[in-house]
Subunit: 160 residues, 2 copies
């Protein structure tokens, strides 16, 4: 089975969105995806590029993707953040994920960053074990904090 | 006590680095800061701007800072990430942090993002309680993963 990894183009964003929705279902949040194909095209290929995306093809069909962008660590400087690495369900366990993972890490090396970061769900043991085997460190003591738009508006609306 | 919040300028980066180092000590990793003043100036004010920074002044002295940049959520689109919010030790508990926090959230509103995100250490209870009171959500089930440069090089060097 030949796995081809290439840079995504605008026309791939529809397939990429399908993969994003599939991951949201796997993560038990099927309704969380608000982003549209148009937003992905604009953010990935518009004037203010917000991410880079790689797709994995098998038999000319997109079966996986990885989406990355830069962050800035006040300790390390510029880092690469891996936002998503997704392989469609019926193609898992065939090396597609590993090939995409390597491509992302090669990209990070090429960019000369001192760190690559991403997040993982605590119950996703196979992923955690894979990451640890590859040399990554899991930091279970750093928790994510999120403030969504409604809470943001409510907070700003309050008197100081 | 008058607290002035303003956009940082190049000349502030030395004070900002001092605050970054102070936070690293608080987080029990005093040697983790590799970034230099020159890198901060370049990343914050160079051709490829990597972050925005706000400073808090009291009596013309910088006593706090907040550093933010954009991320891209495949669920929500563009988000604001708060990388650091730091108040120097002898000025804590006087409202400086809260004023910086509000400034960051106002900035996020102005940018029209659907989410602001950051991370917190699990033992930092006062911070966690403050964030929750303000309407933010703590996601303790999403863990950070990091691959540092030496591990990255080792992984890439291996045969596939």
């Amino acid at each position: 089975m030949e796995i081809i990894i290439r840079n995504a183009v605008r026309e791939d964003m529809s397939s990429v969105l399908q993969l994003i929705k599939e991951l949201a279902e796997f993560e038990k949040e099927p309704d969380a995806v608000e982003v549209t194909v148009e937003e992905l095209v604009d953010a990935g290929f518009g004037k203010q590029k917000q991410f880079d995306c790689f797709v994995a093809e098998v038999g000319q069909k997109i079966v996986g993707m990885a989406l990355v962008y830069f962050r800035f660590s006040t300790w390390k400087g510029k880092t690469v953040h891996l936002e998503d690495l997704i392989v469609t369900e019926n193609m898992r366990g065939k090396g597609v994920g590993q090939t995409l993972y390597r491509r992302v890490l090669e990209y990070a090396m090429d960019q000369g960053v001192k760190r690559v970061n991403w997040v993982v769900l605590d119950w996703n043991k196979p992923a955690i074990e894979f990451y640890e085997r590859s040399g990554a460190t899991i930091l279970s003591n750093w928790w994510q904090v999120e403030m969504e738009e409604p809470a943001l508006k409510a907070y700003i609306g309050k008197k100081q």
